[in-house]
């Protein structure tokens, strides 16, 4: 392969002009005259029996065409065989006989306009018998607590973690408190002996609020059923193939009968893929009309799958020179009304970032009568690192050791054991800490009396998944690269650089497209910081194969062995002979059209990456405190991150800044506030997102410790920047003479003092 020349230079996003001119198409932008608009009817109660659903008042309204409760939306109604007499798969669409969170959909109304559907949904009359609810995880674990899910319901729960990060093990079987759906434990050495060896011990419990992804585009799906029994689904999804398999399962269809067309995604952050697609497809099948199902913001908050709240106790022991002797952690994740919290990943990160000979990490997942949680950018990691990095900061204070020095002394490096005993691959934690220590903000540590500077680290394992890509050379010598992944973060732009580099052609001659699930080769969920490493590797392989084919073609035309030829800047030449040769366009012309004599150049790339490329980040914040009024301003913020290799540095910086903003949101603003199972802040007016005026300019510094896995050494970059923010800000507040904050988001009243 020729020397990297297209890689590592910032280029604009390829789809940018579409988005800037209003032409990008999101699901709700699809225009056709025959849509039926669907509107959900949601449960107002956290736990209740559904006694009766009366749809007739809705059906009497002008414009309302149909309405359904769960009883009306069975597989039989969809014209499918009942699978062993059970149509349980459809339970996920609408609640059957019982609701287990406020906001659970119980009915749906279809109308000619969205406004008429809304009127219809208001008119549906549902009789409930309220039941005792366990909405607080502690209450849910009490001996006499009401059970949120039956044993039968819990069987076969899907594993969110596997999709987003890596299954880490540590499962504990056997007896547990009520509503505990998962227990993990990781042990090493002798934890008690470890604390006996310590000169200093810190212990604290931390609370991290549940937060919402709060993507700007609410969840949306549209569907049309076809006479041959197949369906087309237009979706705002991070994973078209995930949406497909889930819809196929729910509808009792084979996958080849479900076509998912992934539309432009207006933000997702882990929260989009499969929530609405099966219901939209089921409705379209029953009513024989295309159906558009778009949530409004209130419904999105109530129905969709936010990031979980957690309580984490951390105890650290260290010798007086700052060597950790023991790490203990006890975690509780509130999973909402279904299992699927990231407690395993949290344990892996909490116990694996620093090395101690003695380790005990415990975790439980508890189900409660609240909306089931899902993935939100680095699931489990912001929770784990708020606790760990706050504790490390306290430890450095107690020991009188510089906080970066303490971290450097104990940071895991390649070969060190993770919590499950497996060795860490090459990671860049130390390099990030060193880079942070070199920044003038840290070196000078200039601050006024009311100012403080805090530091915290964070890491993410990086997801894995098989992927394939196709690279075709068109008759004019341009390249079309087709993938099955959805471009949310600028990955298509990066793929163009990868393909251009691997093939030997200018990136402006490469187009990257996402196919629908009928046409595109498989790709995984655009989450877990894995698309560049997994699909990017497939693109690299596909372009390399296309290059091999064009060289083979050139060899026969130029009467030279293929091994003696190279492709550079769209020209095939004899190596070492800069003049002459044939252009890719000339050669490609031989492969298309009447009378053409050569087989079309079609490179296929396939990968099944099973090793992850963990990415670490270290953040520094400088804050100014007004303790009289509880007012806080972040005056400087630096995000350092090991990105492996920045293929398109501008896109990487964008991920770093955006992730940092979300971390600051967790630190200072965001929280899903529940009272008796009712979400109190289900609007963007109440749920506090960071605005431009809330944030400082975010400085970024990239560290490049190449990954052996990703193309050209790249690592996933989406997750790590969203992790350290909460502890970074809390540690800066402590440094400014403020209190040690043990819960986020931080409230102004917590800052008031002398």
């Amino acid at each position: 392969m020729s020397e990297a020349s297209y890689i590592g230079t910032s280029v604009p996003r390829r789809e940018g002009a579409h988005k800037l001119s209003g032409q990008a198409q999101y699901v709700s932008d699809l225009r056709r005259h025959d849509w039926l608009h669907a509107r959900l009817v949601l449960s107002p109660y956290a736990h209740a029996k559904i006694e009766r659903v009366d749809l007739t008042p809705a059906l009497r309204l002008p414009g309302v065409v149909a309405a359904f409760s769960a009883q009306d939306l069975t597989l039989a109604r969809l014209g499918r065989q009942l699978n062993g007499g059970s149509d349980r798969v459809l339970d996920v669409l609408l609640a059957h006989s019982e609701v287990s969170f406020a906001g659970e959909p119980v009915a749906v109304v279809l109308a000619e306009t969205a406004a008429a559907a809304e009127d219809g949904a208001e008119a549906v009359e549902v009789s409930y018998r309220r039941l005792a609810a366990a909405t607080d995880p502690r209450q849910a674990m009490a001996k006499d607590a009401v059970r949120v899910r039956s044993e039968e319901e819990l069987h076969g729960a899907e594993d969110e973690e596997a999709a987003h990060g890596a299954a880490v093990g540590g499962e504990v079987e056997g007896q547990s408190a009520p509503n505990v759906t998962r227990q993990i434990a990781f042990d090493r050495g002798d934890i008690d002996a470890g604390f006996r060896l310590a000169d200093q011990v810190v212990e604290q419990s931390y609370r991290i609020a549940g937060v919402h992804q709060a993507y700007l585009e609410p969840q949306a799906a549209a569907a049309e059923a076809h006479p041959d029994g197949s369906v087309t689904i237009w979706a705002s999804t991070q994973g078209a193939f995930y949406s497909r398999s889930y819809a196929a399962e729910c509808l009792g269809l084979s996958e080849e009968k479900v076509k998912v067309v992934p539309m432009t995604v207006g933000g997702a952050f882990g929260g989009k893929g499969g929530l609405l697609e099966p219901l939209a497809a089921a409705l379209a099948t029953v009513v024989r009309r295309p159906v558009m199902l778009v949530l409004d913001r209130l419904q999105d908050f109530l129905v969709s799958n936010p990031g979980p709240a957690a309580e984490i106790t951390v105890r650290l022991g260290a010798t007086k020179d700052g060597q950790l002797t023991a790490i203990f952690a006890d975690m509780m994740f509130d999973s909402g009304a279904a299992p699927g919290s990231p407690v395993g990943i949290a344990g892996m990160l909490l116990g694996g970032t620093y090395q101690a000979p003695n380790l005990a990490v415990r975790g439980v997942e508890v189900v409660t009568h609240k909306v089931p949680v899902g993935a939100y950018r680095a699931p489990g990691a912001p929770q784990a690192y708020f606790a760990l990095e706050s504790a490390m900061d306290e430890l450095s204070r107690k020991l009188g050791v510089d906080p970066l020095t303490l971290r450097l002394k104990n940071a895991s490096v390649e070969g060190d054991p993770q919590v499950n005993g497996r060795p860490w691959p090459r990671i860049g934690l130390v390099e990030c800490l060193e880079q942070a220590a070199r920044d003038p903000l840290w070196v000078k540590r200039q601050k006024g009396d009311d100012e403080g500077i805090g530091v915290a680290a964070g890491g993410w394992p990086g997801g894995t998944e098989p992927a394939a890509a196709v690279c075709r050379v068109n008759g004019d010598g341009t390249l079309t690269v087709q993938v099955g992944s959805v471009d949310i973060t600028g990955t298509h732009t990066t793929f163009a650089l990868i393909a251009a580099q691997a093939f030997g052609i200018d990136p402006s001659r490469v187009r990257v497209i996402t196919g629908d699930t009928d046409a595109a080769p498989y790709a995984g969920f655009a989450g877990g910081s894995k698309i560049t490493t997994t699909v990017g590797s497939a693109v690299l392989a596909a372009a390399a194969e296309a290059r091999r084919q064009i060289l083979e073609l050139a060899a026969s035309e130029m009467e030279a062995p293929a091994d003696d030829l190279e492709v550079s800047d769209g020209q095939v030449r004899v190596k070492g002979v800069p003049e002459g040769g044939r252009s890719v366009a000339e050669l490609a012309a031989l492969t298309t059209g009447f009378g053409a004599s050569k087989a079309p150049v079609t490179g296929q790339g396939r990968t099944a990456i099973t090793k992850s490329a963990p990415g670490f980040a270290v953040h520094i914040a400088k804050v100014r405190l007004d303790r009289r009024h509880g007012w806080l301003k972040i005056v400087d913020y630096l995000a350092v991150q090991d990105v492996g290799k920045a293929l398109n540095p501008a896109a990487v910086a964008g991920q770093m800044r955006g992730g940092t903003a979300q971390g600051i949101g967790r630190a200072l603003f965001e929280q899903m506030v529940y009272q008796g199972g009712q979400l109190q802040d289900a609007s963007l007016a109440d749920y506090d997102l960071p605005l431009a005026s809330d944030l400082p300019p975010i400085r970024v510094a990239m560290v490049e410790v190449p990954s052996p896995i990703g193309p050209f050494g790249a690592k996933g970059v989406g997750e790590p920047p969203a992790i350290p923010g909460a502890a970074t800000v809390a540690n800066a507040i402590r440094d400014a003479g403020g209190p040690r904050l043990t819960s986020v988001p931080i409230r102004p009243q917590q800052l008031i003092g002398d």
């Binding site: 910032s10 604009p12 996003r13 789809e15 940018g16 002009a17 579409h18 988005k19 800037l20 001119s21 209003g22 032409q23 990008a24 198409q25 999101y26 709700s28 932008d29 225009r31 309204l61 002008p62 969205a114 406004a115 009127d119 208001e122 008119a123 992804q213 709060a214 993507y215 700007l216 585009e217 609410p218 432009t264 995604v265 207006g266 933000g267 997702a268 952050f269 913001r297 949310i488 973060t489 600028g490 501008a650 896109a651 910086a653 964008g654 800044r657 955006g658 992730g659 940092t660 903003a661 609007s683 963007l684 007016a685 997102l689 605005l691 431009a692 005026s693 944030l695 300019p697 975010i698």
Partner: protein, 162 residues
Amino acid sequence: MSEMPGRVAVRFVVNGRPVEREVEGRQSLADCLRDGLSLTGTHLGCEQGVCGACNVLVDGQVVRSCLMLAAQAEGCQVTTVEGIGEGDRRLNPLQQAFLDNHGLQCGFCTPGMLIAATALLKENPHPSREEVTAAISGVVCRCTGYTDIVDSILAAADAMAR
């Protein structure tokens, strides 16, 4: 709710083009633009006037089109993101600056940002970083952390001054 909401005839100018519509009295300007006129570049993020994704210019002022009724636009000049370009040029200097400075990611807030920035630069062609930050603090962006958006608008001001 039992009776059909009343309908209202409304005439206004959108992106330089006169339009005449009969709308439901309760229809928002945003729904009228998106559903009636297929101008789907105006996005709906909250329908409560908070997020700013539905920003349009009405007689030169930034307006949340989700909070304004279509009927209220009678006689007004409305500009959406589709109408901010300059003639046959594909992107105007502001849009180009967003592209060059990576001032967008998912694109959902982008039209609202562009509208807010258009109004700012018309009123104040040489804004400071603080003024730009204040001008876009009524538009929520979840992807970028705003830094690149502020840089884009400052770069556009520079480019337009040349």
